[in-house]
Amino acid sequence: MTRLVEVPSQFDDRTFDQFTAAFAQAISDGERLLFDAHAAEWASPYGLVGLLAAGQAAGRGRGEPPLLTAPTNADVLRYWGRMGFFQQAASLFEIHGRYPKAKPQPESDVLLPVTPVQAAQDVHEVVSRIQERAAAILRTVGLDPKATMGFAMALSEACQNIVEHASTGGWVAVQTYHWRRRLARQVVVIAVADAGVGFRHTLEATESRRFADRWGDAAALEAALIQGVSRFRDPGRGQGLKGIRNYLARWEGKIAIRSGTARIAIVPKWDDDAALKDGLPLFPGAQVLIIVPEQGSAKP
């Protein structure tokens, strides 16, 4: 028997928990999953890497891969193809429907197509590739060219969370687009996702006693993002997320991390997201969203 997981028609961080609720329910009885994206109208980089993480989790330890119905809208298909989604999805899903199989071409708004991250070498590749285009693209959102290095640093640290803590591979994608609905500004978005062990598991041995009854996914995220805690006792560890926070504070940026049943965000004044959500549907690994908005233009 196959269990259906509907991909929201507008698939981004705002609708991700609609998706994870369907995923958590469907995966619980051990049946093969069918991810239905045929009616998808739009997906953010976060939605795309999150869908890959779901496919990774759904196929784990099973003889056959989960199914995926590709979007039917031609523009959506083109965009997903341009983002390199299908190249990665082909090894995780049995894909139904027509979809572009060609390698993604460099496009002006795609800073980095969906790219697998498994080892330190992958992080090097990602950072090198992003810098080839970042300076020009970041100028379009009004960032000082000097901010390029900070952007590369934030990207590197976000990817390293996969390499160091996930115990599995993950994906990263970077794109710039006009965020008309929420902000009416150009934004640069970094999305990173894996279906690994998650923050709670990573920090359990060193932090659970300190938090006692409060210990859980939310406490683990708070320890990592707010307190800069790492599973390593070395005082030099845990600086990466803090560094990302400092960078984003300067550029009015946002970071949100979802792991397990919780989600934490550093919320800039232009956004109305919740700082911490707990008791969400269980989803494996960690999903990181970083948004840098256009500087000094329309007032949000």
């Binding site: 330190a120 070498q121 090097h124 090198s128 290095m149 640290e157 160091e164 030099g236």
Partner: protein, 143 residues
């Protein structure tokens, strides 16, 4: 003895691929181990970052902080961009360590907590590696 280290060259020799960025802890560790072999018994080292692109916190910690913690007493940083500086400074603060950046013209800028930075300047002056100018700046002693 003062040992001069070209970090970009150390990166090329430590990690496969021709990368200019010091990113990931694994890379930082490899580069530091390469530098440590070059340092031998030197307690003062000049680390030149010219040609290095992105420097992340993991590499700043593995290279700058760990060299200072375990191998050298004085670290003079050259070719440091503003972005490098912004990464190195909080790492040093986290460890309570100090290093000096050589600015164009030979003036020195300290990085790290003020107490450690002041002690470092005293040591540089005591070792005749630097002198205080009448204006209050600290400059490298011509070699």
């Amino acid at each position: 003895m003062i040992q001069h280290i070209d970090v970009h060259a150390a990166l090329q020799q430590s990690v496969p691929g021709f990368y200019a960025d010091l990113v990931t802890r694994a890379t930082g560790r490899a580069v530091r181990e390469h530098i440590e072999r070059r340092l031998a018994d030197a307690t003062v080292a000049v680390i030149d970052f010219t040609g290095v692109g992105c420097l992340d916190y993991s590499c700043a910690d593995e290279i700058v902080a760990k060299l200072l913690r375990a191998r050298v007493r004085v670290l003079l940083l050259r070719g440091v961009s503003d972005a490098h500086r912004e990464t190195i400074e909080p790492v040093l603060r986290g460890h309570g360590l100090a290093a000096v950046i050589e600015r164009p013209g030979g003036t020195l800028e300290t990085l790290g907590p003020s107490e450690s930075a002041a002690a470092l300047v005293d040591e540089l002056v005591a070792r005749h590696l630097a002198t205080r100018t009448p204006g209050g700046a600290v400059v490298l002693t011509p070699s």
